[in-house]
Structure formats: structure tokens, C-alpha cells
């Protein structure tokens, strides 16, 4: 039977020194037999209906005691076949499908999809539209990160940040609602522009949010960043090296936490992101704690970008002035014959696309969100619409990250990846 030597460090403790200085330690190192606990592994099933899986994710774990030796994720419970449905819809009709994927940051998906279609068709949106979309995308980056922050903190036992972050999320819900009429299913974009321009007072509402939000972030920062429990639960847990992170397909904050400064806003800029002044936070250890720090800092950077975007927001039209792309105003469609014909043709036929394909990757809150579109000549519907889902690829790494850790660490690792099952299953 195997034995191990146990060192009991009691000699140096002042409170133990009853015998005075120099007295022999009451306990010398000794050998205790390692108990024979057998080698049978236990199989447990987590999910698909479990709050700690952050959606309908099912993890089948093989355990050795409390140590996870194998994780097999099962997904597909939320599969809605969005990509197939898209093949039956015209370009603009696909927009509502996109925000149902990542319902935690819907505007980023709205924007990414139309950006790809516009790139394929060679449409250059107006300056105002570009800046508005930057505002919406950065706002929803905060929106997505806040949900991650609240739910992840809850997973390690901190309840307060959940309330703080959801209070702030509620304000973004309000911004969504006054812009689009919906809180989650925003469908705010259209090919060549937006569903509507920013309503009156919206920027003041946004400014009000931006004034208060950093204070909340500071409060959460004080609660978690130096918190011994939080540090103990996250540091050194789920570590991945920089090379592995690239090879395993990590993108977004997960990749940057491993020390790779890859951010599509900087490396493959779109919408003049290169002209905004912001930093890309990069971690060095690639563990859950660095992922936390990266996301916390990203929210601050998003606030910076939002302030700059609001300052430079130009006037002018928000939609491209091409009657074959943008709908005429309702008044025109009702009073002007030509506008009515354009309206009718756009609604019934849709926008014809050139033959070809286009991949547009943008930096979503969870990583590289790619929209790949294949069209035929004159096609008003896609031949293929593919979403490169960031958290689908991020989640596939969980067996590598979690094996060898405790079950409770598995929950933390899963939370730290920031997944959303609507987009993983599509």
C-alpha cells in the first residue's frame, strides 16, 4: 500500500509554542497509510436544465472522486436551423433571425449580418450609419459582458454583482426599447442602413447611462477584483497557453486573456475603428481570472469608444439614398407613384445581389463573429448563409480546460468562457 509523508508545520507557530522557545515540536513527521479508495469512476450528468450551464448545455462528466477526468459536452437542444431558414428569406428578412442567436448582445449580430451583405453587394453605408452602428455594437458589448459578469459572479457565490450588473443592463434594455421597440429582439438594422434613425433624446439617455455605469463598474471591481474568494476560485483555473488558445480557435476576450493581442477592431478594422482611441486589454495567464479582468477592462474601453462616437456623430441621412436598396418613407410611398413602385419591388422581390461570396468577421462580445454569405447572380435570397459562431468554438475547448480540475472549477470554467446557447445551437 502506498504511503505518503505528511509534514506538519507546527513547530514554528508562536501560539503553539507552549514549551517555550526551543522546545521540541510535539509532532514529528510521520508516515500515514494512503487509504485504498478504489478506482471506480463516477459518471455525472450536468444539465441540460441547470442554471450553472448558462443555457441548455449538457455536460457529461467522468469523475475520479471530485476530480473531472473527462467532459463530454452535448449541444443542440436549442437548434433552430437558422441557417436553413435564412435560405428561404430575402436579405432583410434574415435580420430578425440574427438577434435571436445571441440574445445577450443582439445588436452586434444585427450589424454583423448587414455588414456582410453590404460588403458582398458593394454598398457603402453613410457616415452617420457607421457611427450609429459603432455606438450600438459597443453598447451591446457592455450589455453582453454585464450578463456574463453577473451570472459568473453568482456561480462562484457572489450575489451582489448580479444585482448591480442587471440594474445597469435594464438601462440598456431601455435604450434598446426606445430605439427599436423591443428589448431583446431588436432587429435594428437593414441592408443599407437602419430600421430607424436614433429617436429624439436617445443620446441623452445613453449619456445618462454612461455617466452612471462606470461607478457601478467600480463597485463591482471593488467587490470582486481583490476578493480572496473570487481570486481563489479563478486564478490558475482553466489555464490555456497563447499558442494553444490560437490553435483551439479561441477568439475574443478568451484569446486575449491568454496573451494574444488579437482584436478584429484593431487587426482587421471596420467602420473606422482604427481612428478611435482605445486599448485592447490583454491578459498573461490565460486563466479564468484574466478572462474576468479582460472583460472588465473591455467595458471601460467600450465606454471610451462610446463617448468618442457620440462626439463625432455626424448629421445627414442614415440610409443610403438608393431606391433599390432603402425603402422610401411611408409618406412618399403613399403619395408618390415612383416611390410606391420601389417600395413594392423592394418588399416583394428584395435586393438583388451579385454572384459571389463574402466573409465578414467582426469583434463581437464573445469573439470573432463571422458572417459568410454565398449568393448567386441577382439572387434576392442567400444560397448559403453561414454564421461563424464565436462561443461555439470557444465552448469546444472546455474538455481541454476542465479535465483535471474539480467539479466546482468546471462550473467556473464554463462560466468564464461566456457562452450563449442560442448562438451555439443556432
Amino acid at each position: 500500500m502506498a504511503t505518503k509523508t505528511v509534514e506538519l508545520a507546527v513547530g514554528g507557530g508562536r501560539e503553539m509554542g507552549h514549551g517555550g522557545v526551543g522546545a521540541p515540536s510535539p509532532l514529528a513527521p510521520f508516515d500515514i497509510p494512503e487509504p485504498d479508495i478504489g478506482t471506480e469512476r463516477m459518471l455525472i450528468n450536468i444539465g441540460p436544465q441547470h442554471p450553472a450551464t448558462h443555457g441548455v448545455l449538457r455536460l457529461v462528466c467522468e469523475l475520479d472522486g471530485e476530480t473531472v477526468t473527462k467532459v463530454v459536452p452535448h449541444i443542440g437542444y436549442l437548434h433552430s436551423s437558422f441557417e436553413k431558414l435564412g435560405e428561404y428569406r430575402t436579405w432583410n428578412q434574415i435580420v430578425p433571425l440574427t438577434d435571436r442567436m445571441d440574445y445577450l448582445a443582439p445588436l452586434i449580430y444585427n450589424c454583423a449580418y448587414v455588414m456582410s451583405v453590404e460588403k458582398l453587394m458593394g454598398i457603402e453605408v453613410t457616415e452617420r450609419c457607421k457611427v450609429v452602428r459603432v455606438i450600438l455594437m459597443e453598447l451591446d458589448r457592455i450589455f453582453g459582458h454585464l450578463l456574463w459578469l453577473g451570472t459568473t459572479a453568482i456561480d462562484v457565490g457572489a450575489f451582489t454583482p448580479f444585482l448591480y450588473s442587471f440594474q445597469q443592463r435594464e438601462k440598456i434594455y431601455g435604450l434598446h426599447e426606445s430605439l427599436t421597440g423591443a428589448r431583446i429582439t431588436t432587429s435594428a438594422t437593414r441592408v443599407g442602413g437602419m430600421m430607424a434613425d436614433l429617436p429624439e433624446g436617445w443620446l441623452d439617455q445613453l449619456l445618462d447611462f454612461l455617466d452612471n455605469f462606470p461607478k457601478t463598474l467600480d463597485e463591482v471591481h471593488r467587490l470582486l477584483t481583490g476578493n480572496q474568494i473570487h481570486i481563489g476560485r479563478t486564478q490558475g483555473v482553466g489555464v490555456i497557453s497563447a499558442d494553444d488558445a490560437i490553435n483551439y480557435g479561441f477568439t475574443g476576450p478568451n484569446l486575449r486573456a491568454a496573451g494574444v493581442p488579437y482584436d478584429l477592431r484593431k487587426d482587421r478594422p471596420y467602420y473606422d475603428y482604427e481612428s478611435y482611441d482605445f486599448e485592447v486589454p490583454v491578459g498573461e495567464h490565460g486563466d479564468c481570472y484574466d478572462r474576468y479582468l479582460c472583460r472588465m477592462d473591455e467595458m471601460r474601453q467600450s465606454v471610451r469608444i462610446l463617448h468618442q462616437a457620440m462626439a463625432r456623430l455626424p448629421g445627414g441621412p442614415i440610409n443610403v439614398e438608393d431606391p433599390n436598396i432603402s425603402l422610401p418613407s411611408k409618406t412618399d410611398a403613399m403619395s408618390d407613384m415612383e416611390s410606391m413602385i420601389h417600395h413594392f419591388k423592394l418588399i416583394t422581390d428584395g435586393i438583388p445581389a451579385p454572384e459571389g461570396d463574402c466573409y465578414m468577421g467582426i469583434e463581437a462580445s464573445k469573439g470573432e463573429l463571422g458572417m459568410y454569405i454565398v449568393a448567386e447572380e441577382g439572387g434576392t435570397k442567400p444560397v448559403r448563409w453561414r454564421v461563424r459562431p464565436p462561443s461555439f468554438v470557444n465552448l469546444s475547448v472546455i474538455p481541454k480546460l476542465a479535465e483535471g480540475h474539480m467539479v466546482s472549477d468546471l462550473i467556473m470554467i464554463n462560466a468564464s468562457l461566456d457562452i450563449v446557447l442560442g448562438e451555439i445551437d443556432r
Binding site: 469512476r41 441557417e83 428578412q93 480557435g249 459571389g356 466573409y359 448559403r384
Partner: protein, 244 residues
């Protein structure tokens, strides 16, 4: 759908959208290979494997390649000092319908050189197999499984080739094929019947989850029923429906 003058389900009954031309798309190359160092290098090194290349959407280079040596070429793209495509962003497939080849699409990005490249490998419908690149990029683990699940393309050498989004015992075929009807191959009654007859306990049996077994063996065992033998022929149109 709102734009339809007729029933909203008409589009569903019409069947899937297919490409206009049954013949292959035009095979000419566009753009200049000199603008993209990797395209030029590929033409130089593997002239027989590159079918054509095109410049798409303004600045994206796409290279069509023969699938036979795809693994060798992709490995070279990953490791060659002038290419270093260390990031495999996406693996997917495109089905144009009408019996045209299904194309496997690789989206690659080189972080050291800051270059993106798209590789497309057309696979004829009677040979839907291509080498897995799992040994090069671990990122393709689930991506290749998804292509297998939704298109029925087998990736040779993938350690865990089984369905990922659809259930393991899904018998209606591969949903993203153009010949797959939007509402599935089985009738609603048949689908309901199958759902009711499912043995839910099956998904929680230790043997099924591969406890203690060699992952390779488990993958082979679970992949077997998902690979109907006649599926590869003729686009797998009716073969799986007949199992009903």
C-alpha cells in the same frame, strides 16, 4: 412571410432555393495573384491542385483547390514561414443544389502576417469525403462535426466524427442539403411517433456515453448508425426517407 401575396407556407412547399445554373459556375479567375502573396505562392508550388482563384467582395481572395491533397496543402499553409495561417476561423460547406459539388470552405487567418484567405474544395456528391485537419488546428473539432452533421461530409481522420447539433439517431438525413425539405423528410405524424417512441433513458446510459472506453472506439461505434450506406449516392435524395 410578410412579403408573400399567397400563403406564408408557399415558400416552404416550393422547396429550397437552388443555384440558377446547373453547370458549374464560371471557372475563370479574377483579381491578380500578385496582390495576395499566398495565392501567388500556391500557384507556384501547387499549380496542379489550384483550380482557380477569385477576388470576392472587394478584397477577399478565394482559392478553389482539388480536395485530394487538401491536407498537405493546408499543412503547408499553416507551417510555411511565409504563410503561417495559424488561425482556422471557420470550416463550413456550401451546397448549390442541382447535383453540383458541395464545397468545403476554410476561412483562414495568419496572425503573424495579418492576411486572410479562403480555400474552397469542391467535393462531388458521390465522394463526400475529405481529410480532417484536426491534427493541424484543434479549432476544427466541432466545426467539422457540424459540417458532417448538416451536410453529410465525412472528414477522414477526425477522432470523434458524430452528429453534434442534430440527435445521434436522426434518420432524416442532413438538413442543410438543398434537397432536404425545410420541414424535414418525415411527415409530422411520423416525426411525432418517433419522438414518442424514443427511449429517453438511452441518453443516460454509461455505455452510450463511452465511460472508460477508448474514445476512438466509441466514436466509431456512435458514428456507425448515422452513416446510411446509400446516402452518398445521388445526393442522398430519398434514401434516408425510405427508412421510415
Amino acid at each position: 412571410m410578410a412579403d408573400d401575396n399567397n400563403s406564408p407556407l408557399d415558400a416552404v412547399e416550393d422547396g429550397p432555393v437552388t443555384s440558377g445554373s446547373a453547370e458549374g459556375a464560371d471557372t475563370t479567375s479574377t483579381g491578380s495573384a500578385d496582390d495576395h502573396p499566398t495565392v501567388a505562392a500556391l500557384l507556384d508550388r501547387y499549380p496542379a491542385e489550384v483550380q482557380r482563384f477569385r477576388l470576392e467582395a472587394g478584397d477577399q481572395y478565394v482559392v478553389w483547390m482539388n480536395p485530394t491533397r487538401s491536407h498537405e496543402i493546408l499543412a503547408w499553409l499553416k507551417d510555411d514561414a511565409d504563410q503561417l495561417y495559424d488561425m482556422m476561423s471557420d470550416v463550413t460547406a456550401v451546397d448549390y443544389g442541382k447535383g453540383r459539388p458541395i464545397e468545403v470552405v476554410y476561412q483562414m487567418y495568419s496572425t503573424p502576417h495579418g492576411r486572410a484567405l479562403r480555400i474552397r474544395c469542391p467535393l462531388p456528391l458521390d465522394a463526400l469525403e475529405i481529410d480532417s485537419v484536426y491534427d493541424l488546428w484543434k479549432a476544427v473539432d466541432w466545426l467539422e462535426r457540424e459540417v458532417y452533421d448538416l451536410f453529410g461530409i465525412t472528414f477522414r481522420g477526425h477522432p470523434d466524427m458524430r452528429r453534434i447539433l442534430m440527435p445521434d439517431d436522426y434518420a432524416e438525413g442532413h438538413p442543410l442539403r438543398k434537397d432536404f425539405p425545410l420541414r424535414g423528410r418525415f411527415s409530422r405524424a411520423e416525426q411525432t411517433q418517433r419522438a414518442l417512441n424514443q427511449d429517453v433513458e438511452r441518453f443516460y446510459l454509461a455505455e452510450d456515453l463511452g465511460r472508460g472506453a477508448d474514445p476512438q472506439e466509441v466514436a466509431a461505434a456512435t458514428a456507425e448508425p448515422a452513416l446510411p450506406s446509400g446516402d452518398a449516392a445521388a445526393g442522398g435524395a430519398a434514401t434516408e426517407g425510405e427508412q421510415a
